[in-house]
């Protein structure tokens, strides 16, 4: 492997949780997570050479992952993807931890796509400035939006 390829493999391994979390929250089932995951990797690989380090690597990975998942045209993806290597199935497993994760998935998945992105970034403790830069709205708008999202989440819990 060339140096660039080795670095890419290291970067993917270091950020696999971030990529998976975004794909999981935007997918309907395990197959879709697979498709989205690979699409994110393709976009990360395409952009690695141009990553200038102006933002943190984690923020950049989030940006590419969210852009890919929000803009993905699912019907286009009929090509075979290489399956993810996982011993767990977050859509079907029944243990208590997975149940907790499924509760989170259910809540986030009920939100609209952009709100899903905003709340995910917020849950990862990103600042309002960072969220605003990734989503492309003002900081004030982020705070208003988050307020509404939190209200929505509270209502969901009350139902």
């Amino acid at each position: 492997m060339k140096q660039e390829e080795i670095e890419f493999a290291q970067m993917v391994r270091a950020h696999k949780e971030t990529i998976y979390t975004v794909c999981y929250m935007f997918a309907k089932d395990a197959d879709e997570v697979n498709d989205l995951f690979q699409e994110v990797l393709i976009n990360l690989w395409s952009g690695l050479g141009q990553f200038r380090g102006e933002s943190k690597m984690d923020t950049w990975v989030y940006r590419v992952s969210l852009n890919t998942c929000i803009s993905s045209d699912r019907k286009k993806k009929q090509q075979a993807t290489v399956p993810l290597t996982m011993d767990i199935n977050l859509f079907e497993d029944k243990d208590e931890d997975t149940h907790q994760i499924q509760m989170l998935y259910k809540r986030i998945h009920q939100l609209k796509p952009f709100d899903r992105a905003i709340v995910l970034l917020w849950l990862e403790n990103m600042s309002y400035e960072e969220i605003a830069a990734i989503v492309g709205i003002t900081v004030k708008n982020v705070s208003v939006r988050l307020y509404r999202i939190k209200e929505q989440l509270k209502q969901m819990s009350n139902q």
Partner: protein, 196 residues
């Protein structure tokens, strides 16, 4: 205000996302094969569709003009070849905004806007091309009848069946795709306060 809203549910969500991360940390998730496939797939995945459409469109136009259609009216031949070239040019034009660069540097709103613009162009193409294809098909039948009268009936029946099935499938795909796009457009309007 935020303090008041940071109730049990929100703290619970933070705990749940940490749980998800911890669970994922223990997993391999990506193997060597997946990483390699993604690196090799770069050009294929991003450009394959446009590339194939362009090659097929140009090849069909050239073949039509200089090959299979020599018995037909020259005006019909030129019109068909021109339409195929135009379709290729439109595909190239509408695809120019969908580059990997956008995903890397652009923000979510920008990206969704570009994608929606692309879809809008695709929609416009549907409305423009469907009547032309219908007219072309009638013209084709007429040409077929005048040049090869015995095959005219066969062409008409199978053309009608194929056209109807294709039309129903195409409309269904278009309708479902449009629903998803509308959701994203609505959200952009909500977030930015601007109408698309």
């Amino acid at each position: 205000m935020e303090e008041n809203l940071n109730t049990i549910e929100l703290n619970e969500m933070k705990q749940q996302i940490s749980l998800l991360r911890r669970k994922l940390e223990k997993e391999t998730i990506v193997n060597e094969k997946l990483i390699r496939a993604s690196m090799q797939d770069k050009l294929k995945a991003l450009k394959r569709r446009s590339y194939i459409e362009c090659v097929v469109g140009i090849a069909a136009a050239v073949l039509w003009k200089f090959g299979i259609s020599s018995d037909f009216n020259p005006l019909f031949i030129d019109f068909t070849a021109f339409f195929l070239f135009f379709a290729v040019a439109y595909e190239v034009y509408s695809n120019r905004m969908l580059s990997a660069q956008n995903y890397i540097e652009g923000n979510l709103v920008e990206e969704a806007r570009k994608l929606n613009h692309y879809k809008k162009l695709a929609r416009q193409w549907y409305w423009f091309s469907i009547p032309i294809v219908c007219i072309w098909f009638c013209w084709y039948l007429y040409e077929s009848y005048t040049v090869h009268a015995e095959q005219g009936r066969f062409l008409f029946i199978w053309g009608l069946i194929g056209g109807t099935i294709g039309g129903v499938i195409g409309w269904n795909i278009y309708r479902k795709g449009r629903k998803a796009i509308n959701e994203v457009i609505e959200q952009i309007e909500e977030l930015t306060g601007e109408k698309e």
